[in-house]
Amino acid sequence: RNLNPVIIFSFSKKDCEKYALDLHREDYTDDVEKDLIAQVYTNAIESLSDDDRTLPQVVALLPLLKRGIGIHHGGLLPILKEIVEILFSEGLIKCLFATETFSIGINMPAKTVVFTNTRKWDGKDFRWVTSGEYIQMSGRAGRRGKDDRGIVIQMVDEKMEPAVCKGILYGDPDPLNSSYKISYNMLLNMMRVEDVDPEYLLRSSFHQFQREKEVPGLLLQAKEMEEKAAQIEIEDAELVSTYYQMDQQLVVTRNKLMAICRQPQYILKFLQRSGRFLDITIDGDSYGWGALVSCNNTNSSGVGGNSGGAAGKLAQAAKKQQTYTLDVLLFCVDRHFDKKKDDDDVQKEDVQNQSMLWRGSHEHCRPVRQEEENGGDSKLISMRLFTISLDCVDRISAVVLYVPKDVHPPEARKNVGIAVKEVQKRFPDGVPLLDPIKDLCVKDPEYQLLLARATELTTRMAHHIESHKDSSSSVLADEDERTKQIQLYQRKEEYLKGAKLIRAEAHSYETIVMKDTMKQMKRVLKKLGHVDAHGVIQTKGRTACEINTADELLVVELMFTGIFADLTSEQCVALLSVLTFDERNKKDENDDPLKGLKGYLTIPYIKLQDVARSVCHAIQACKIELDEDEYVEKFNPGMMEAVFAWSKGAKFVDVQKLTDTFEGSTIRTLRRLEELVRQIANASKAIGNAELQAKMEKGSELLKRDIVFCSSLYL
């Protein structure tokens, strides 16, 4: 149907290459085009040295290109990327496998665009594509002047809610939110000049403007809530309020009691048997009684390894403790049914199908409401398996049910549901609970204190009711009336509290964004000696102004503690590579990053870690929140060996073998590193240390070689 040229977008570099190789038997070009492609290619790689022409990536790409198939992603060598772009814009490549980066920027429209996946990994979740990203990538389809229309093909591998799909296809582009922030370098440059006001800069920023724009909307919301609160009238407000306060305190005390009971050391042995009867609350919504299926131990801490000396031990000690998750069967209703019920037929089908779904989550399901249990909507109720943490357990019962091993089939779950109902029927006064003192053996002294407080509160509340029963028209006398008034009061309180929160938020929006952060940052600079107590910039600060490629605070500390004095140029360059190497190897997270590194590289690295820790402590001392381990782990020594080899004169092929990353990332790291080294050379000239300057200049020369610094084809 002549849909080419086509771009096929994947969300990972590896997928791109896999798909391209899968097509290795296809051929889309004729002889004339093959010659043209070969010509363009040879012209382009003429600027490379002989060794670089034999790099695996360079050699492997040509046969693919000749057949009209191309690959484009961030891991390729920059020169190869440019070749692919040029060939694609000439129309010599019919089918291109690319990642998202191709969708931004360069003018490369195609006739058809294919999406291989609807979910992507954004570092935290495996989430659906957002509408903004969709618009960006699908916008590539259709060349102006050549095509009547562009064609977008979306591959869908899994069940997608129609609402989600609509959101992606018809949604708005991503909103333009300013994330303006001030770095230490910026702050120092401003403090250098007399009478410059960083606050003025922040006040006039777009970020501030956007926040201030939201304020009227927020104030309106707050006002509405306050009006709603004012509409609720409560009789005998004082009495109700005192009763309510006591009730709240009782709830808080009970929660604390339960929290102590929930600690693994007490509760775990009762959760080993499947079928334990549990009362579950997830995110404030009470699901009622359910049955335990299994208890799993998820060890979230890495094994850590036996290395790194002091650094490793500190890291291990700070690692999180073991966490447990429970699999429980609970009654619930799919939230899907809460949405507008359009079609009756669709509804019936959904009801029939929904019993097939055996897994539930708080996102998709909600607890059963009173009306549904007794009314005609009882078909909507199903029993599903939830995975929850220990914190969701409200109460543990002494009762243990029989639960089959496999809970996937609907009959098994229905049987368990029947059993749960049966138990509740047999104990109309409340299911028997496990006693914390006798069964769980809670020995915490705090527990006794809390228990005493709880009993005290209950007696006071009863007394309160008693004392006011005598007054004739008291609301508290009648129990039903009392509960009603308390509910109203609760609602009023919630409105008022919500309004207060919104007003506080609006107020915070009006103050300058980052004002507090800036004060804290100034304090950090004073503490580290970049400026003196009066705010006049010092030698250290002037040096930090020269560095903007990497963490300026750390680089300046490294320079002034003389770490570079004992190292050769090659070692210095290898050490600085940890500051510019950003990528994380997902598979190696539990391995020791220092494994395999020689001594002359590990020792400077450990010194760098110590300096980083001292910087981190200075920052934390000024009340800026910074996670020490996260900060230190940012400096990844994965490229140290490769960079050392490169600076010693090794060929790019050999250097690439020493690291796991793609070639493109290696090149990016080396280029950024060269810039950093140049900046440090300038800075050391300013402080008058000629040795460091000479060392850095030599390092820069060692790096600038061959394919890493070959010029762009466009220039």
């Binding site: 250098r192 000049v193 007399e194 009478d195 000696g529 009066h534 705010g535 006049v536 910039i537 010092q538 030698t539 250290k540 002037r542 102004c545 500390e557 002034f560 503690t561 003389g562 004095a565 402080i687 008058g688 240390n689 000629a690 040795e691 460091l692």
Partner: protein, 277 residues
Amino acid sequence: MTTHLVVPGQVIAEGDGFLRGHGTYVEILENSERLVASVAGRVERVNKLVSVIPVASSLYRGHVGDLIVGRILEVQTNRWKVQISDSHRSAQLPLSGVHLPGGVQRVRTQQDSREMRQLFHEGDLVSAEVHNVQSDGTLALHTRSLRYGKLENGCLIIVPPALVAKRKNHFCEIGNISLLLGTNGYIWIQRALPNLEDAQLAEHKEKLKKEHTETPVLPDEREKIARIRNSIECLAKVHLMVTPERIEQVFKISQSLRTEEILFPDNIIKLTRSILR
């Protein structure tokens, strides 16, 4: 806090574990290294970096962001040469770095090049800020703020640059006289300008400045200016750091003398005795 003063040739530190900074050199002996001073001055230690800041020289090195006062030496195509110290190395003030009249922002045309002399001509005093320091040490200046520009109707006094420390605010006021402490040692004294902050528009500010220039200075203002000038010279003669607080102190104590008597040697010692203590 004691200051560690050294003379050229004096050993500052022995062994290794220090980084060499300005004003020092490393002497390598048989089995150890020594850090020796090459100029006379104060020792500054920042972590491991040891450098000597010269106190006696009249050499002004210049850092980005410093406020200086200079005299126009030459008018060249598209830039002015500005004298900022006794040494024959002058600073450069490019045409693109000055404020055009009216506050207008545009690319400088050939017309502007030809009319440079109308903005500043030879012999004028200007206040400017260091924009950057080139690789050979030449300073590039700019006057792109209404606080900087031509200085008129006042008095200039030159002190050694080492006596003027970099502060947060180089504009200061004593009574109704304003001072401008240039980091290169050139200090400008004039009658206080009306508050420029109230005037919002550039034209308004320039009008105020022009009024100030054209109004002649009254005799008692002249006397005050002269007295302050002599106070500063007192401080310079005994090699004390020139700060607004000290100038004010000397100014107050000197009220008992006549202005011209301030510079007699006995009086100098008397006036500065309280500060030295």
